[in-house]
């Protein structure tokens, strides 16, 4: 033990007592108090905090739902109906949980869009990006498992279709599927283990989120201009500035999710899931949750079982290597005149894939899915490496403060009353 270790001194003796034994208070002060955030961060940077809060909400509402849920094929559907009708505020817990899942994906998708557009995945934050994609994968697995639990028609057939994806693997596929299901088809053994895994995976997600946050705090957050913090003038402390900003974002988010929970709780639900599971009748039209639809569209766009499965998983796995496909050193698309448009095209394309993923795979929809599939992979394998090579980026600002100095320059030059830059404000405040 290092006897020369410097122990942080606080005014409060209780804090000092704890700090001496476990330096957790100085850790939180450093990581969530004095932590420098680039001062040009916009509201896109609030979505990480929103996602964390949503995760906690999902865990809490889920624990309370589990107190009244029965993971048995004969009783699962009825126990969910009992939660909806008889359990005090059960309807609220369930609507928070089901819509919370959808909003969790909305938030995480925006978080990913932000990371892609502003190049947050680039050096030195590659590992952070990888952890993020890993979280995304865990989220998809967890939401799939959870969707099975109400044991409605969509639950049953969704589980059947997704677990059958594994049977596409040559030689071991059928055996692997049977092992995953614990039966030759989706049955009671399946429902039981899905419940167990659905309960535990969110805690795994929570752990990986901890690593994800710890990793971003090593090199600090990226920002809309994608340039590093150079001086104290470029940043503000997390507390209170960013905490307040995140709180504002949280309020707006609270209004949005409450509107859905209270006024349209089934907007994003499938009516077929209010019919109890029937192993002998497949619904005419099986649809995944909308937030998984882009990947489902890719699966259906390929007229080959194994090929479709490989491309669908490939569409997620490809995200892991994005930091190495993009050769450009410029992070923010604001300074990449060509790539910017391809990036926006990627987002539109992803949305279109999701749209056709919810519709029957035929005619024009199938064609759109196939074009979308080509653009999806073309974006990663051709456009991203190639554009990084030919594109001439616009001139980056010298520093984050410089961005503001430029913005107000015309006002100063014109001799009019200019809005003082945040940098100047900060100087006077100090």
């Amino acid at each position: 033990m290092d006897k020369n270790r410097k122990v942080h001194q606080f005014k409060n003796p209780v804090l000092n007592w704890i700090e001496f034994r476990l330096p957790i208070i100085s850790y939180f002060k450093k990581e969530y108090g004095d932590y420098p955030m680039p001062k040009n961060c916009n509201y896109f940077w609030s979505f990480g905090a929103l996602a964390t809060i949503t995760l906690v909400t999902m865990i809490v509402s889920g624990i309370f739902l589990a107190m009244n849920y029965t993971p048995h094929t004969d009783m699962a559907f009825d126990s969910v109906e009992r939660i909806m009708r008889d359990v005090n505020y059960g309807w609220l817990m369930r609507y928070i949980h089901s819509n919370g899942a959808a909003f969790f994906f909305i938030i995480v998708y925006i978080h990913i869009v932000r990371a892609m557009y502003f190049g947050s995945y680039k050096y030195p934050r590659e590992l952070n990006w990888i952890l993020g994609v890993f979280i995304f994968l865990l989220m998809m697995a967890t939401s799939f498992l959870g969707y099975t639990l109400p044991w409605g028609q969509m639950s049953y057939w969704g589980a059947t279709v997704i677990t059958n994806l594994f049977s596409a693997i040559p030689f071991i596929g059928e055996g692997l599927k049977t092992w995953l299901l614990g039966d030759y088809n989706v049955g009671n053994a399946t429902l039981n283990r899905f419940f167990a895994l659905h309960y535990v995976l969110p805690f795994v997600i929570f752990g990986v989120v901890g690593l994800h946050v710890a990793a971003v705090h090593v090199h600090g957050s990226n920002n809309p201009d994608g340039i590093d913090i150079k001086t104290n003038n470029d940043s503000v402390n997390f507390f209170p500035y960013m905490l307040i900003k995140d709180t504002v974002a949280m309020c707006a988010f609270g209004v949005a999710i409450s509107a859905v929970i209270f006024f349209g709780p089934n907007l994003m639900a499938e009516v077929d899931n209010y019919i109890p599971a029937d192993p002998l009748v497949t619904p005419a039209h099986i649809v995944p949750n909308w937030y998984l639809a882009p990947f489902y569209a890719i699966l259906r766009a390929v007229p080959d079982k194994l090929g479709g499965v490989l491309l669908m998983f490939g569409a997620i796995v490809i995200l892991f290597v994005l930091p190495w496909l993009d050769r450009s050193k410029v992070r923010s698309c604001n300074y990449r005149p060509i790539y910017k448009w391809f990036m926006m095209g990627f987002f539109v394309n992803f949305f279109a894939l999701g749209y056709v993923g919810m519709l029957p795979a035929e005619g024009l929809y199938l064609l759109i899915a196939r074009v979308g599939l080509l653009y999806y992979f073309g974006f990663f394998f051709i456009i991203t490496p190639f554009v990084g090579w030919i594109e001439k980026p616009s001139k980056l600002p010298l520093s984050i403060s410089d961005v503001y100095a430029k913005n107000i320059a015309p006002n100063i030059g014109g001799g009019e009353k200019g809005i003082p830059s945040p940098a100047m404000q900060k100087d006077t405040n100090l």
Binding site: W157, T160, V161, T163, N164, L165, S167, A168, T178, W179, L180, G182, D183, Y184, N185, G187, A189, R193, P279, L280, V281, T282, A284, H285, I286, R300, V302, P303, D304, K305, L306, G308, A361, E362
Partner: protein, 175 residues
């Protein structure tokens, strides 16, 4: 020279400890993995006897066997002819109609699409039967013919034929 045997001894101890640890860990994990496989009561394969005397020509019934739907169809002359006409070599999963039935008019199939496990349509008169007049899977658009063979769409294989025997002219035992 004096050092070498000593190192060897240490290497041996290290290697054998690690090996034993690895084997022990694997032996410990195995029961957990194996516990996820189908349990004994699930494996105790049930068999089902079905009375087929009431099925009219062209009619098809669905029964449940091991949790899965099984289609039993009494085929019409035209359907049998259509199934026989096809050259097996032209098919994705080449199989002659004769290899899929025991008695020509009786077609017995596991009613699970070989793509992703949906139940194909075609059992009811009003159902869509697909372009080959057999079964059509609404999930991802696979078409099966009057022998339950895959003809069009993403499914890789023909509909499975379960093990079955005719106990007499009016009864089939499946399983």
């Amino acid at each position: 020279m004096a050092k070498k045997p000593k190192n060897k001894r240490r290497d041996f101890l290290q290697l054998s400890t690690v090996t034993l640890g690895a084997v022990g860990t694997a032996a410990f994990i195995w029961p957990f993995l194996k516990s996820m496989s189908p349990a004994e009561d699930t494996l105790a394969a049930g068999s089902t006897e079905v009375d087929i005397s009431t099925i009219e020509e062209g009619q098809s019934i669905t029964i449940k066997w091991r949790g899965k739907p099984v289609f039993i169809k009494k085929r019409t002359k035209e359907e049998i002819d259509a199934a026989k006409m096809v050259q097996a070599s032209d098919l994705r999963d080449p199989q002659d109609d004769a290899d899929r039935v025991q008695k020509e008019e009786w077609l017995v199939l596991v009613g699970v699409c070989t793509h992703l496990g949906c139940v194909p349509l075609g059992q009811k008169v009003s159902d869509m039967k697909g372009e080959y007049d057999g079964w059509y899977c609404p999930c991802h658009g696979s078409h099966y013919d009057t022998s339950g063979r895959i003809r069009k769409g993403p499914a890789p294989k023909n509909l499975d034929v379960p093990p079955y025997t005719f106990l007499n002219d009016n009864t089939i035992k499946i399983g």
